[in-house]
């Protein structure tokens, strides 16, 4: 079992001191002044409150990576994902803990590492390739492929400073995409480029993953992560909160990062908003507030909204998202046409009943918007204010088409009627 571990991380921690000596460019003058001040500092403060200046970017992180695994590292901004990759790439040293790596590592922490604007595309391919870790012979061998992938054959001998940003990114990624180490560490490099190019990069990354290379991939793009990775690591404020199968970890991340995981959301009245959503909560069939449902349960969304004066053409929109895709987009006026024609002032409490067996297991998040449809102006938007976890609790879905692990966005089982059967 331990034979094919390629990365072993034990108790990893990285501490930065902020507001202290590392913060600004240190000059000798500062150093001298600091050391003169030091004895006085201790007199004026109660002890040395070092803790206020310390910041643990990572604390007590431990995990193992096996050969060929493709792992997504997710978390909010500042969670420690990039710091983790930097330590694994040997760019910065840990404050505590150990890492053992078995195999060659290639790091892609930015697009265009080492590119120099005065050099041509051709020259930069060699420079960047070498900086990333490729041998000269390797670069020569792959040169034509790289140029073809980048789609800038015509400009390969122009200085890179003349390139458009799109060309620059394409060339930079083309070089990086042809890196073939045993272990690949990638940090959100796909966040650049146009949609077509991002699709190409995703495809190439998928190929790399399938080739049996070990990949650690940091990204905010949940769609890309769930598509390419099998396992996930969820970091939050420097701590490893979860590690496991990718969908489970992604769910935990989404649950953690939405404003209010389940149950109840409310806000104060704003006199500037003629139509405003004041409260939202989710209840089950018995009227009890809940944030966990089985796929066969009835889910009801209660929404309280207020209209301050007579409005024409105003709507309350409720959107329901699953894994970044909007599945339901409904106006309150779809069911109550009179509200669209002329909405009377007052406080409304509506209940939206979602059909049973509509959503597959996973997290759905609810957003609301109020707007004037005729004028296409938005009054307010509340994004991802409530999330609800739907799980396969009561039923064993191992052999069902609507199981969570299978594809498809909805778990609706349409009516299959057998029209004919010819026995043989």
């Amino acid at each position: 079992m331990s034979d094919d571990i390629v990365i072993r991380v034990k108790g990893l921690g990285k501490k930065y001191t902020i507001g202290g000596p590392q913060e600004k460019y240190h000059t000798i003058r500062d150093a001298i002044v600091n050391s003169v001040k030091a004895p006085f500092r201790r007199l004026t403060q109660q002890g040395t409150d070092q803790s206020r200046n310390e910041f643990w970017a990572l604390k007590d992180v431990s995990f193992d990576v096996h050969k060929g695994e493709v792992i997504g590292i997710i978390g909010r901004n500042g969670a420690g994902k990039s710091t983790l990759l930097k330590i694994l790439s040997r760019i910065t040293t840990p404050t505590e803990g150990e890492v053992d790596i078995f195999g060659r590592v290639g790091s892609l922490l930015e697009v265009g590492t080492g590119f120099h604007p005065e050099l041509t595309g051709r020259e930069n391919i060699f420079l960047s390739g070498s900086i990333l870790g490729m041998r000269k012979r390797e670069i020569e061998r792959k040169f034509d492929e790289i140029v073809k992938f980048s789609e800038i054959e015509k400009f390969i001998d122009t200085p890179v400073k003349r390139y458009s940003s799109g060309m620059y990114v394409r060339l930079a990624f083309a070089v990086a995409a042809h890196l073939e180490p045993e272990i690949l560490l990638i940090d959100e490099v796909l966040a650049v480029g146009d949609a077509a190019f991002q699709k190409k990069c995703l495809g190439k990354m998928g190929d790399v993953a399938k080739e049996g290379r070990t990949v650690l991939f940091v990204s905010h793009n949940m769609g890309a992560i769930t598509q390419i990775c099998k396992r996930g690591i969820f970091l939050n404020s420097g701590n490893l909160l979860d590690i496991g199968e990718i969908n489970a970890v992604v769910n935990k991340y989404i649950l953690n990062s939405t404003l209010n995981s389940g149950q109840y959301w409310s806000t104060t009245e704003d006199p500037n908003k003629p139509l405003q959503v004041l409260e939202i909560y989710v209840i089950d069939a018995n009227g009890k507030k809940s944030s966990l449902f089985d796929i066969s349960d009835t889910i009801k969304i209660v929404i309280k909204h207020r209209c301050t004066k007579e409005l024409i053409g105003a709507v309350v929109l409720v959107s329901i998202f699953s894994k970044g895709t909007e599945l339901i987009h409904t106006f309150d006026s779809d069911a109550h046409a009179d509200r669209l024609v002329k909405r009377q002032p007052g406080v409304y409490i509506d209940e939206i009943e979602l059909p049973k067996r509509l959503f597959k297991a996973g997290i759905i998040s609810i957003s609301t918007t109020t707007a004037f449809i005729h004028k296409s102006t938005t009054i307010e938007t509340n994004n991802d204010v409530i999330s609800v976890l739907i799980d396969e609790i009561q039923e064993d879905t191992s052999f069902k088409g609507y199981a969570a692990i299978r594809s498809g966005l909805l778990s609706i089982t349409p009516k299959w009627t057998n029209l004919n059967l010819n026995q043989i």
Binding site: D4, T27, R90, T93
Partner: protein
């Protein structure tokens, strides 16, 4: 941290595989990994190649700049030090005397300047990719060699013009060139490591080089000093380099004991510099 590839799926009879990369918190004394440096020799080549290529990009005069600086200095020195101040030049025409010193001097000064700022000016690469950081100051001292080679050709032409034929001592010339490079590396290691944290050091460089120029036997011969001080003069390694250079090419007095002191100083500075650099290397990416 070794970089050799180990096959980790080859564990026989309960052998625990040896990791290729071991990452631990910073230590006080870090050994230099020479095999790793050797593995990264191509990267060193590419850094030097890059620095040489971009140095004269989009200039009209191009590589002519490599000789303009020492040439103009020589003219000024000849006029004022040789002509007006009448400083002795050991029987050699003053232009040749000073130019022969300016060539290795420029090699040293440029190497020192470039290696000191090498880390800071490459900060963007250092925070994104791993490579042994020693590559940076080493590339700084190697790139001026191209300028040196061009200026050397001019020196040979000057020697022909003045009718000087090099003595047999010319075979030792590479040793003095090596000493010049090692001096700039030794000092460059200290300064580049210090410069990452204390940016003062890059501002001291122009000032330091000016002082050092006059503390070295460029405009005057070391014979100007009384004999008992000449060995102490060797504490300035460039004194040994320049006198040795002139001796090998033009047949002036050999540097003798001075050179031993110079070599000793360089070795001490180099070893100290390497250890200091390796220790500070662990913090560079955080501080740069």
């Amino acid at each position: 941290m070794t970089f050799s590839i180990s096959s980790y799926n080859e564990s026989q009879q309960g052998d625990t595989p040896v990791p290729t990369i071991v990452i631990r918190p910073p230590k006080k004394w870090v050994p230099i990994n020479f095999s790793e440096l050797w593995n990264y020799r191509e990267l060193l080549y590419f850094f030097v190649w890059r620095d040489v290529k971009i140095r004269y990009k989009q200039t009209a005069l191009g590589f002519a700049w490599a000789i303009i600086q020492p040439l103009f200095l020589m003219v000024v020195f000849t006029l004022f030090f040789g002509g007006l101040a009448k400083i002795p030049s050991e029987g050699i025409p003053y232009p040749l005397f000073s130019f022969a010193a300016l060539i290795p001097w420029t090699l040293f000064a440029e190497g020192l300047t470039r290696s000191t700022t090498s880390m800071v000016s490459n900060a963007n690469i250092m925070t994104k990719v791993y490579f042994p950081r020693l590559i940076m100051p080493i590339s700084g001292i190697l790139s001026p060699l191209v300028d040196f080679a061009i200026a050397f050709v001019i020196l040979i032409l000057m020697m022909v013009y003045f009718g000087f034929v090099p003595t047999i001592a010319i075979v030792i010339l590479p040793a003095f060139i090596l000493l010049a490079i090692m001096t700039s590396l030794a000092v460059g290691l200290w300064l580049s490591a210090l410069n990452v944290k204390y940016r003062d050091f890059q501002y001291t460089i122009p000032f330091l080089i000016q002082l050092w120029l006059f503390a070295s036997p460029v405009v005057y011969p070391s014979t100007l000093l009384p004999a008992q001080f000449r060995i102490l003069y060797g504490l300035n390694p460039m004194a040994g380099v320049i006198e040795g250079f002139r001796w090998a090419l033009l047949g002036t007095n050999p540097p003798e004991a001075m050179i031993l002191v110079s070599v000793g100083v360089v070795i001490l500075l180099l070893i100290g510099g390497l250890f200091y650099f390796k220790r500070m290397e662990q913090y560079f990416a955080d501080v740069v």
